[in-house]
Symmetry: C2
Subunit: 195 residues, 2 copies
């Protein structure tokens, strides 16, 4: 088993792109080699088997999709309001559009989770933590709405991203940005926090 961490990262990024572009069906060692631009057989030397590759790709996807520290700092410093929440959702949309493959790979991994308990645990833990962090920051920061508001927002945003990435022409009357705006307007109350 080879150890070069830089190359390992490159292979994981390639695996994420392969997942997004060719689906779980296309995720083979050789396909990852090709996508990473390394000679055939390399991925074999870095991952014991397909499951191991999937698992590590699942962990790496969150690194790629995480918000920048800079944005988080700015968000936490702001005056809590519905408008700030709107900007937060817009930033999420922007990040996903900037790394379309990352989020598509996450969707592929969600479906793989039905078959691989290891991946299910990994994704559940990470996504659950992210959601709970969002709830905590929202409530402690004094943003308008309660837990249900945040959870509903999370679900609607998930639906929007799925729709936008897989069947963009279903919601073609609206560009996704204004769709986000109107979604926030429906879900988040206007005033300060309810509780």
């Amino acid at each position: 088993m080879r150890q070069n961490p830089e190359r390992r990262r490159a292979l994981l990024n390639a695996a994420i792109d392969v997942l997004a572009e060719d689906g779980a069906r296309g995720l083979t060692f050789r396909a990852v080699d090709a996508r990473a631009g390394v000679p055939g057989g390399t991925a074999s030397n870095y991952f014991a088997n397909r499951s191991e590759l999937l698992l590590q790709a699942g962990a790496h996807v969150h690194v790629r999709l995480a918000p920048t520290e800079e944005f988080m700092a700015r968000f936490l410093d702001s005056v809590p309001s519905r408008e700030q929440t709107r900007l937060g959702m817009r930033d999420l949309l922007r990040r996903v559009e900037a790394d379309r493959n990352g989020y598509l790979a996450l969707l592929e991994l969600r479906l793989e989770a039905n078959r691989h308990p290891g991946i299910r645990e990994e994704l559940t833990r990470t996504i659950r933590w992210t959601l709970e962090e969002n709830v905590r920051r929202h409530l402690e920061g004094g943003f308008p709405g309660d837990r249900n508001t945040v959870v509903t927002l999370y679900l609607a945003m998930t639906g929007l991203l799925v729709e936008h990435l897989t069947l963009p022409d279903v919601l073609t009357d609206d560009d996704p940005e204004s769709l986000v705006d109107r979604m926030v307007a429906v879900i988040v109350p206007e005033g300060r926090s309810a509780r």
Copy 2:
């Protein structure tokens, strides 16, 4: 090319189950044969190639997931209210839980849509029509809320179903039914129609 419609339907149902259980990676003619309990080579005789199989499975999934006529009639006869909307969402959840594989296959097909324009068109057309029908019925029926309400509800419900089917333990504090209830409470205004 064989024509027996009963057998064709059985093969399509088997294809949907294979998609859900083994993913796009596992969808081969032989796997469909095995799942349908027919001798090997049968699916080859009913579908020209894999794309054709996917396309017809995509069309058939909507047949499996469609609400019963009986429910629709009862819904249309009811007095419009947030409570009725809640029951409608609960029924959707019930249907999806009753045909878990159908909805999972739909998610697999959504991801395949990124690669097959034919499937993308098929799914876009059907899902778009369904959404627009929901909007129309909601508004014409005098249910509370406007277009944004219905679209937001659709997106949140999509997110909820994705979450519930792929990573059920992310939202484990709440059983999905009460989650639906609270989601509707957040999104749909209490009173009669706003416009």
